[in-house]
């Protein structure tokens, strides 16, 4: 059975289609959208080895002219240089305005392919085929695309909505376990900020830390409910004027810790996990959230095999300074997303540094 989730936006709406084995229908989906004949599949060597052939076979069977390109893997290559390479490939293959780039990969491939598509000929089609859990529930939906500046993550980018998001849970079987857990951090985030029912379902599961120990029905629920949460929020606030900021729950401190450990020691998801623990405790200390719920959240994070403590050697003052560099700083004030109950959060830029310091010291 295929679950379809609609992302409803004023200028361009699109579907998220979720089903085991759906990768083999990629070509058919594109044909149904009436996209131009030329398709460039962008991936990386590992992902391409596992899943590239199937994607390409499906596109060719549907009559598309298919070219493919593998970017070097890793956040380190999420740079303007890689985008320049994609432009060259787009030119070589004479992509036209009606052509499509298909991002077959995790958030790194998805963000870069999306940005190249956003800026080639002032915008061509992009279709997201996410292959990590994080990309499935988060980065492939909502149109944020971009690359890193040598001095900061995702500083360069554009909003560019995909024409389609195609999610095949089976591709997760080849995903390294640490990457699976990184995605679980975002899933837990949706439970805390938006969907108390998803939170309860995860609480009820014995295991959360490896795909093969989780019941297929729960995987299905994790994917559809998370995608629905993201679609709901993005549908209400496409360009991050207000509500969409709640998706950054856990990300403010998470990003700071990631950047202070040079994006090497911890994954993005681990940063988010640490950030959620911190934000939850800040909320509790400010009297906004019950300590009991903080602990329920942290238990879920632990069950997913994610960290709840700061990595050794990270300097707390350096975190507090790094917060000032965040994209989301407005007039010098750091914006925090804080839970008030499970499934509900509030946005505030009124957190005293002393509270942040206190919470981080205790982690």
């Amino acid at each position: 059975m295929t679950s379809i989730i609609n992302v409803n936006l004023p200028q361009q709406s699109y579907e998220i289609a979720i089903a085991p084995g759906i990768l083999d229908q990629l070509g058919q989906y594109l044909a149904d959208l009436n996209l131009g004949k030329k398709v460039l599949v962008v991936s990386n060597p590992t992902i391409f080895k596992h899943h590239g052939e199937r994607a390409i076979a499906s596109l060719k069977a549907a009559g598309f002219e298919v070219a493919s390109y593998s970017l070097p893997p890793g956040e380190r290559y999420k740079s303007l240089n890689s985008i320049q390479k994609l432009y060259d490939i787009a030119l070589e293959n004479r992509l036209e305005r009606s052509s499509t780039m298909v991002a077959l990969g995790g958030g790194v491939v998805g963000d870069m392919t999306g940005f190249a598509a956003a800026t080639w000929l002032r915008g061509i089609n992009v279709v997201q085929v996410p292959t990590t859990l994080l990309a499935m529930v988060d980065s492939s939906i909502g149109g944020k695309t971009g690359v890193n500046h040598p001095q900061g993550k995702n500083l360069i980018g554009a909003f560019h909505q995909p024409r389609l998001v195609l999610i095949d849970p089976e591709v997760l079987k080849t995903l390294p376990v640490r990457e699976f857990r990184a995605g679980m951090a975002e899933v837990i985030k949706y439970g805390v900020i938006w969907d108390a029912e998803l939170f309860s379902q995860m609480e009820a599961s014995k295991n959360l830390n490896q795909l093969r120990y989780i019941k297929p029905e729960l995987i299905d629920s994790i994917l559809t409910r998370s995608c629905q949460a993201k679609a709901d929020v993005v549908g209400k606030d496409e360009k991050e004027a207000g509500l969409r900021a709640i998706l950054n729950y856990g990300h403010t401190i998470g990003h700071a810790v990631e950047s202070l450990t040079n994006y090497r020691l911890i994954t993005h998801g681990e940063g988010v996990a640490i950030g959620m623990v911190a934000a939850g405790q800040i909320a509790a200390n400010l009297g906004l959230w019950q300590q009991e719920d903080t602990e329920r959240q942290n238990a879920l994070i632990q069950k997913a095999g994610l960290p709840t403590k700061l990595p050794d050697g990270v300097d707390i003052e350096a975190i507090i300074e790094a917060l000032q560099l965040d994209k989301k700083v407005k007039a010098g004030k750091v914006r925090f997303i804080l839970p008030t109950q499970i499934g509900v959060v509030t946005i505030t830029d009124d957190v005293p540094s002393e509270t942040i310091r206190e919470v981080l010291r205790a982690m």
Copy 2:
């Protein structure tokens, strides 16, 4: 008196304000729009020398924190490298989402500043203060931004509407005469494709080829009617889904000739002039336009000091091949904008190569 033209778009509308001396009110205009405190003025050394001080003084007087940066002048530097430099400057000055880049310059500065603003933090404000005639009547309006790929003009870019376009005709006094004429090509274009009254007013003027020989009332009419034409078309078709293509009248062959002469021999405007002569004659040969009107158009082009012949040594077959590389090619077919009467054009991809060849041979 200030003329205000509204550009009405679904997501973001803005004003084009035109008045002699209005540059001194730049700061006040930004303040009225409630833009954030930080402003980065982007220009080039020549333009900055003539007009930079006034712009900056006005912004400072209105309470803005102002930084400025000069890009090296010339189409050759309209590249991703220059954009990278702008990103560095944006970071150095800690531009935030509410901050503004002000493009003080011609189309080159405007397109690059617009693109940097479109892609910094996924989009910050840009205000266009055009200083060439071409930028005033064309490139500053409508949100097309971008840079060149080594192998093709404007292949990299994004749509990003300005918050305001501020036009001070007085800055044209320092503009070299050849650049003024380049802008006149676009003005004549509006006469042919959209505004027969503007066409007649220009026909009635004794001179068209130098600012100082043209009556102030006609300059005023040229600016306001051209901006109105561009605003009308863009307002009806922001993303170039259909109608907006008519703005490319003269540009298809014009671009090919520009690129075959390596953007050195002729200006963009001269290319457009040549392209309009060719397109007009193609229309006449196909029986779409009266030969008499073709000649009226060409007389206007000549009066503006613009060429009506192909530059020496350009190979006609090379032009026909280059047309195939145009961004506007769809399924291998070249799209032409052809006049049917003064003020009215039609769009067709049904022009036989033989007709193009015939017309170019006669030029």
